[in-house]
Structure formats: C-alpha cells, structure tokens
C-alpha cells in the first residue's frame, strides 16, 4: 500500500513538476498582464490570479470552457510540490541548509499570499478638511442598506451585498419580517436629465423631476467607480411598505415607516464601520517650486477612539502609513483641489507573513550562494 502511494507520490515531488509549474506561472503572468490593459487590475486579479482555472466563453452560449490553470491551481500545486520535495528527498544536512531555509521561506510566502487573497479587505476613506468619519467605503462593492433608526442612541444597519442585487431577486431580511424585492438593477448607471433620453421607452429609472438613471456599460478603469441604480420595493409580512428608485449617486437615504419603526433605505458603496473616528485636520500637497509635480502628500489626522481612550494626532504620508486596530491607513489620493484626502484602509491579518518569509528567503540565499562562492573560490585557489 505504501509502495503504491510512493509511486503516486513521486511525481508530486519531482523537479520536473516544479519546472512545469514555474513555466505555467510565467505564461499565466504574461497573459494576465496583457489582459489588464483591457479589464483593469481588479478584474484581472479576480480572473487570472484568484481563480482555479482560466475560462474562455463559448460564443453564442453561456458556457465557459477552461483552457488553462489559474493562480490558485498553479500556486497550490507548486506549494504541494515544494513540501513534498522536501519531505521526500531532502535530507537535513548542513550542506542543504541554505536551500531548505530558502524553500521554507517560499512555502511561507505562498501560504501567506493565499491567506491575504482570502482575507484581505481594502477600502477607502474620503475625508474633507475637518470631517470625521468612522467608516470606510469599498471601491468595488456596493450595498443596499436598510437602517432601523428607531433606537435613540444607535442605528441598526442591515447590509445587503451587491452579489444579491439582481433583477427579480427577493431577499428576506433577518429582522422585522422585512422582505426586499428588486426590480430593475443596473450595475453601472449614469444620471441624465429626462430631456436627454434618446427615446421615451429607453430603459431608465426615474429619480426625480430633473434626473433619471440610465444603464451604462461597467467600467474597468482604475480611477472610475461603477455607480449602480435599482428599483426596490420593501414588504413587511407580505404587505407593501414602499417602492423607490435608488441610485448610488444619491447618497441621501430615503425614510419610510413600517410596523411602528422608522427606517432608512439607501444604495451606496459598501461600508465598513469602525469603532473609532478619524478626522482630517490638514491635507498638504507640496509641489516642487514652479511646477505641478508633486513633492509630497500628507494628511494630518486625529484618531478618536472613545472606547480605548485614544485621542491623538498622526501624520500619514507617502511610505508612512498609520497602523491602528489591525488596520493600516495609507495616503492614496486627493480631490477637490487639495481639500479632500483619500486614505486607503487595508485590513490584512496576515500582513506580517511576507516579512518573515522574506527574511527566511534572504537568509537561505545568503547561506546557499555563499557556500557556492566559497567552494568556487577555494577550487580556483587550489588550481
């Protein structure tokens, strides 16, 4: 039995597999990078690197045919191959010490990257000068939020992720027997004046006397955000409570009453609330004299955490983020003629792993190549 396993196991640990995986990785990276020009980095990441296979849609049908391996597959096989190779072949002698350490660092890095791709959450915090916020917003995901505002000192937010927002969907909410039904849903929309509609029956959602939302193609550009629009009806115990047209570009919520409670409903970028506030005191955009070339960007912010009794100032600038409560705040952008700062907020519990693995790899390389070099020099001296 063990012998049969061994036969099966040998190819998994083989060097040939390593080389094949590395070559496949190279092909994957090339194809993925080329496609980024068309679909943007976020989409390319999802399709090429955070997937098991690469698909190619069969024209005329809904079928997707896998034609190559995706990042998870190649990375996974490489990881297994690396671990297997060590277990099966390497004897832990001093001579191999460098390579063992190097490969362990690599194994740790691959695992760390897997954890990151599964658990990392990136969002943005836009702050006008003087504004304080306790939430950050996703650049790619939206939510339909229903907020119970009856309580005097707190609000209860029910957040429906955009993956559930599809035309015709009905979503049961876990509270108050509420149910939400989706009518039309446009993943990306544009707001225009009703007089600008190409024809009266062109698909659109009326948002007000001066504005309608029309569906537009999803954008993949790096600095453009998709603005969804939806027609939403809310029911309680089967009875209709209200129906509205909502659009991501109208961040003001609409109020309604149901079952004696007051609620708000709004379609907006997905929010990640935090137990503390960040206030922008000053944003600086230093330029080189006589030019518009940026020399430095910095945001002086105040961190206000009542639970932990923190109320302190911090300066966030290029290559110098703020780390607090497992989150990291980076200076990412600005707007409104330097009056608004945009901070990138990253939650990544496994952020330390790459540092550890890099240290291991560096150590392994120095040891291994150092040994090569000394033996090479020694041989020449003998010669």
């Amino acid at each position: 039995m063990i012998d049969k396993l061994a036969k099966f196991f040998k190819p998994i640990a083989s060097l040939k597999l390593t080389i094949i995986c590395l070559a496949c990785a190279l092909v994957l990276i090339t194809v993925g990078t080329l496609d980024q020009v068309n679909i943007g980095i976020f989409e390319a990441q999802n399709r090429y690197f955070k997937s098991f296979f690469l698909y190619f849609p069969l024209p005329g049908t809904d079928l997707k045919i896998p034609w190559f391996f995706g990042g998870y597959t190649i990375g996974g096989i490489l990881l297994i191959n690396l671990i297997a190779a060590h277990v099966a072949r390497f004897k832990f002698t001093w001579k191999k010490a460098g390579i063992v350490v190097l490969h362990s660092g690599l194994i740790l890095l691959l695992i760390g990257q897997l954890l990151t791709s599964l658990f990392q959450v990136e969002s943005q915090m836009r702050l006008d000068q003087g504004e304080a916020r306790n939430y950050s917003e996703s650049f790619y995901h939206d939510e339909l939020a229903i907020i119970d505002t009856s309580a005097p000192d707190s609000d209860q937010v029910i957040s429906i992720p955009d993956s559930k927002l599809r035309k015709g969907n009905r979503v049961n909410l876990p509270l108050d027997s509420l149910e939400v039904a989706l009518g039309d849903y446009y993943p990306n929309s544009a707001l225009i004046n009703p007089s600008q509609l190409p024809s009266p029956d062109y698909p659109h959602l009326k948002l007000g006397p001066m504005a309608v939302a029309v569906p537009v193609a999803k954008t993949y550009k790096q600095d453009e955000r998709n603005m969804p629009a939806a027609s939403v009806s809310v029911f309680q115990n089967g009875k209709s409570v209200g129906a509205w047209n909502l659009a991501g570009g109208f961040p003001k919520p609409i109020t309604f009453q149901a079952g004696g409670k007051s609620y708000q409903i709004v379609l907006r970028p997905k929010r990640y609330y935090k137990p503390f506030f960040v206030r922008l005191d000053e944003f600086r955009h230093d330029r080189y004299a006589g030019t518009d070339i940026a020399k430095n960007f910095s945001s002086r912010v105040r961190l206000i955490d009542q639970n932990k009794h923190q109320d302190r100032e911090s300066l966030i600038f290029m290559n110098h983020p703020l780390r607090y409560a497992g989150l990291t705040f980076y200076q990412a952008g600005f707007d409104n003629n330097d009056h608004t700062t945009i901070l990138q907020v990253v939650k990544n519990p496994s952020w330390l792993i790459p540092y550890v693995s890099c240290a291991l790899m560096a150590l392994g390389m120095i040891v291994q190549f150092g040994m090569h070099l000394t033996s090479f020099v020694r041989r020449r001296v003998i010669a």
């Binding site: 990078t33 980024q36 006589g290 790899m361």
Partner: protein, 638 residues
C-alpha cells in the same frame, strides 16, 4: 616592447578621447560659455541654460544640435539664445520634427519630398488652430490606447507650446528692445500707481498715467500664462517655494515694489544687446549678472557649472566610442595576437568603464539620488553593472569573452539610453511616491542588477551558440568555461532579482498596503525571477546541460527586454513612469532575433563547426585559445 604595446595604443586612444571631452576655448563673439552656465528653475530643479537648451531642442527636434539658416550645424545653446532673444529669427529655423504621414496630411504636406522632416514655426503657424483642435480630440482618448497619429499630434502640440513658452521666458515676445521697454515700464510704475489710487479715492487722476500702467499690466498678465522656465532669482522672498520667478510674475511684482529687480533688468539688457549684435555689451551684462549671482546665491551655482561640463564632455558618448574600439580589439584577439590585442581591448574597455562610472557618479551628484531613478538611468546602470561583472569574468578567465561581452552590453545600453534621452530632462525631479532614497537605493538597484545579469547571461548564451556553430574556436574548455560563466551569472541574476522583488513587495506594503498587487511591473520582475529559477532548476535536475542552459539563457533576453520595456508600453497600474513609442518595433525585432538564435542553437550539435573541429585528430582549436579554466578536480560525491 611587445609588453608595452597595448598600453601605448591605449594611451593614444585615451588622449584622443580626452581631447574630445575638453570644452572648446571661448572664442571671440558672444560669450556663450558664460551664458550656458546661467541657472534657471525648470520643472522644479535648477539647471543651467545649456541643459534647458538641450532638453528643449531634444523635445522639439529630437537632437541636441540644429542647423542655422545657412545650413551649418550649431549647438543647442545658440538656438536657445535665438529663441529667447530674437524670436522672429528662431521662427524661421527648421527645428520642428514632423514625420508622421497622417500629421503631414493635416497640413497638406505629405507629397513634399523633403529628406529631413523638419519645419519652422512660421510654416506651422497657420495650422495652429487645427493642431490645437486635433490634439484636444486626441487627449480625450486614454493615453494607453491612443494610436500613432494621436500621439504624434499631441507631441507636436506640446513642442509648439514649449516653444511659445520659451519665447516669453526672459522677454516678452515681439518686443523690439526689451531693455528699453523695461526701463520705460519702471518709470511708469510710480505715477501709474498714484493715478490708480486717485481714481479709487474718487479724486482727479492722471488718465494717461493710468492708461499706460493698465496697458503694461495687461501685456504682462498675458505672459503669466506662458510660465515654464523661471529665470529670475528672487532672493528677497523668504518662502522656499518662491525663490525663483517667471517673467510675468517678476514684472508684475515690480509694480508692488516700485522697481524692477536686477535679474529682470540684466536679462532685458542681454536681450537688447544680443538683438543689436552688440557682443561687448552682451558679454559685459552676462559677466555682471554672473557676479551678482555669485554674491546672492553662490550655492546654486556649483551644480549648474558641473552640469554644463558634463553636458559638453558627454562622457557616455565617449564611452560608447571606446566600447566599440574595445570590441574590435577584443574580437580581433580571437583571430590573431591574442595576448596583445586582448590586452589592448581590455585597457580600452576599462577606460570606457571609467568614463561610464564618472558619468554615473556625476549624475548621482547632480540629482542627489541613488543611481536609478527613471528609465534612462536604469539603462545606464544596467550597462554599468554588466560591464563590471564582465571585467571580473575577464580577469578570471582571460579569454576575451568577458571583454567582448562587456563592450557589447556597454555599447548597446548606452545607445538605448541615448535614445531615451529625447523624451525630456533625464535629471528630472522625482514624484512623491518615489521620494525615498532608501528604497531607490535598495529595491531599484537590486532589480536593475538582476536585469543586468539576465541580459549578460543571454549575451554569453549568444556567444556560445555563435562560436559553436560558426567558428572552430570552440574547444571543450571554451564550452565549459562559457557554461560556467552562464551558470554563475544566472545565479547572480536570480539572487538579485529575487531580493529586488522581495524588497519591492516590502516597499509596496509600506506604501500602498499590500505586499503584492499583480501590477504589470511587479509581474515583470516576477517573470525574471521565475525564468532564472527555471534555468537553475533545469540545470540541477539535469534536464538542461551546457547547450540547453545557454539557449535558456538566450530566452532570458526575451523575458528581460519585455520586462524592462514591455511594461512601460502597457502604461497601466501603479508603475507607469515612462512611455515608449517607436521602441515597440525595435523591441519586436530584438525578440525575433533572439528566437532566431535559439532556433540556430537547436541545430543538432553534430553539425556545429566548433564541435566538429573537436573531433579532428590532434585538434587544438585552429584559433589559439589560452588555457582557461582550472583542471576539473574530482569533488567527492555527496
């Protein structure tokens, strides 16, 4: 005697090169030497007039020299002087480079059989509106997806815009005697201000005084929009951002102070003198102004002076010449007189390397930064590191291979750099995210070294294939030593590219919150690491031996060139710092050539001339090759 021959030949060439590097003695006429050194603030950095001239002419004409009205070649500083001070002459000079047929179609010039596609501003002026309109249209398309016409028309518009700005940098364009005009203006200020105050207070005011000042103010306000070169030091201001002023602001600033600042006056007098052809007056004012600068801003003068010297001596160009000479000697040494010619070649290459180093060090001094800050400097550094490694290899193996590779890579990278120079100022200021010397010195240098190694390994692979296939100078030792060189260089490349990529990830984590984002440039670096790792693993697994490793190394050239230039052509992501255009064709040609060489290398070895020569009885290779590697020692098995 024979022992000294290489040194003597070397000395002759070195002296010749040194002669080319010494700046010409200032002759009679306008003191361009001093004028070149005058400092101006452009794009955030203080540069000498000479650099402003070269950079501007590169952008407009694609060269650092131009042809005067009588067809004689002249240096950029002369063109700048004409543009700054006698713009109506400069308008007639054929300096605008337009070659794209669709752009020429716009003007109806496509059937002009001009050999040089250079046009003057006067010829282009009637089409200004059309050029503006077309480039506005073109700019609405995203930079990455523009076609050639769109890119060329935008380039032309920018060139014309730059030219217009230059014309209004030290005088108002069209002023027949700006020196006089500035004096008149100064005299008008006080009475004009009085008239304004009177009018505001509702009193009787002197209408002509009021009108005159208004006229001048409007005139100078128009110039404000043309600001580009800030020529006027403003030591009166305490703010660090306002140490230099452009023309419009300097003139309007005089209204509040009541008098014209000395720099404005000096430049206006220079302009008037130059227009009149009065060399004595011009030189005198330039001299006085230089004195003024020495007294007021002495610290801003050293770097421009060094930079002018650097520009004129052109160490990289001289190094290119010496690399070519070194290559000839070293390659010749494979045929005849190996020791003498080989040593001469090595000496020449070493001197070229010294110049290469000097140029690199001067750039670091002028910029105050680690060696690699943009695409241009990466080309210089890749060449420098590769040449250094080759010199070491030559010292170890002493078979001319190191010299040939050193000179080839040195020449090619400097040639690439020369072409990259035409986009603009290569000593440009770094934008905010790059403003960190630590990461520039570590991550960027390591990645560049990794690339350098990959290219060098590829070149060695090419030498392996060409020598083996086409020459008889391919004994077993040569093959083995080449094999070892390639392996050693690949190890070097793997080490540095892996370390560089890791450092890049850490920098990205500090800067943007994620260690790895699958950004095109990150992917490109990873590609180099992966390919080098494949070579090493293939060798260790016995899947590739001497020839296989050489061929894999040649493919490394493809991977590295795509990584270095290809990503810049994509323009997407956080790393888009440079943009190539015609280089695309060159890149594709290069890749095709490498694939062709790999194809050649796959020919079975029994057909290789060099291999066949080995089998001949008594086969010493017919080309004298000194013993190279140490005798293989038996290493005890693990």
């Amino acid at each position: 005697m024979k022992k000294y021959l290489p040194w003597i030949i070397g000395l002759v060439f070195v002296l010749w090169i040194a002669g080319r590097m010494i700046p010409p003695r200032p002759g009679p006429g306008f003191d361009f030497a001093r004028f070149s050194q005058l400092p101006v603030l452009v794009d955030g950095r203080v540069m000498p007039m000479d650099s402003l001239a070269r950079v501007s002419l590169s952008i407009i004409r694609g060269r650092q020299t131009y042809e005067t009205a009588d067809g004689k070649p002249a240096p950029a500083i002369r063109w700048l002087a004409e543009t700054l001070m006698v713009p109506e002459h400069a308008d007639g000079l054929r300096v605008f480079h337009v070659e794209n047929p669709e752009v020429l179609d716009l003007f109806g010039w496509s059937d002009r059989k001009e050999k040089d596609k250079f046009f003057s501003f006067t010829e282009l002026a009637p089409f200004r509106g059309e050029i503006q309109k077309q480039s506005e249209l073109a700019e609405q398309t995203e930079a990455e997806v523009r076609n050639t016409f769109q890119r060329e028309i935008i380039k032309l518009k920018n060139a014309m815009l730059l030219y217009l700005r230059l014309k209004n940098s030290i005088q108002v364009e069209g002023s027949p005697d700006f020196g006089r005009e500035v004096e008149v203006f100064e005299q008008l200020i006080q009475p004009g201000m009085q008239a304004i105050q009177d009018r505001d207070a509702g009193r009787e005011f002197n209408a002509p005084d009021f009108e005159n000042l208004l006229l001048f103010t409007k005139r100078y306000q128009n110039v404000v929009q043309a600001k580009y070169a800030y020529a006027f030091p403003n030591s009166a201001s305490g703010k660090p951002d306002e140490q230099w002023q452009p023309l419009g602001e300097a003139l309007l600033g005089a209204i509040s102070t009541g008098q014209i600042s000395y720099p404005v006056r000096a430049y206006s007098q220079m302009a008037s003198a130059y227009r009149k052809g009065d060399e004595t007056a011009f030189n005198r004012v330039v001299g006085q102004y230089s004195q003024y600068l020495k007294q007021t801003i002495p610290r801003e003068l050293t770097r421009p002076r060094v930079e002018v010297l650097f520009n004129q001596s052109a160490p990289f160009l001289q190094a290119m010449v010496l690399y070519v000479l070194g290559f000839l000697f070293a390659a010749l040494s494979w045929l005849v007189w190996p020791k003498t010619l080989g040593k001469t070649g090595l000496i020449l290459i070493a001197v070229a390397f010294a110049l290469h180093t000097l140029g690199l060090a001067t750039r670091m001094y002028l910029q105050g930064r680690p060696p690699v800050t943009n695409l241009y400097s990466s080309a210089i550094f890749i060449g420098w590191a590769a040449v250094l490694v080759c010199l070491v290899l030559e010292r170890i193996y002493r078979n001319g291979i190191g010299s040939v590779c050193a000179s080839t890579i040195g020449f090619v990278t400097l040639l690439i750099a020369y072409n990259l120079q035409l986009d603009g100022d290569t000593l440009e200021m770094l934008r905010a995210v790059l403003d960190t010397n630590v990461w520039l010195a570590t991550h960027v240098v390591c990645i560049t070294l990794g690339m350098s190694g990959t290219f060098l390994a590829g070149l060695l692979g090419i030498v392996y294939v060409l020598r083996g296939l086409f020459t008889t100078a391919f004994s077993e030792e040569v093959g083995k030593s080449l094999g070892r060189m390639i392996y050693g260089v690949v190890c070097f490349a793997t080490l540095f590219s892996l370390v560089g990529t890791i450092l890049g990830g850490i920098w990205a984590d500090q800067s943007w919150g994620r260690f790895w984002g699958w950004d095109p440039k990150e992917n490109a670096a990873l590609g180099i690491v992966l390919w080098n790792a494949i070579i090493l693993h293939a060798r260790w697994g016995g899947y590739a031996r001497e020839r296989g490793v050489a061929l894999l190394a040649v493919f490394g050239n493809v991977v590295a060139s795509l990584s270095w230039f290809g990503v810049n052509m994509l323009g997407v992501g956080l790393h888009s710092y440079g943009f190539m255009d015609q280089a695309f064709g060159v890149l594709m040609g290069f890749i095709a050539s490498q694939l062709a060489i790999i194809g050649l290398g796959l020919v079975p070895t029994r057909y290789w001339r060099g291999i066949k020569a080995r089998e001949k009885p008594g086969a010493a290779a017919s080309l004298p090759i000194p013993p190279t590697s140490p005798p293989a020692t038996a290493v005890p098995r693990a």
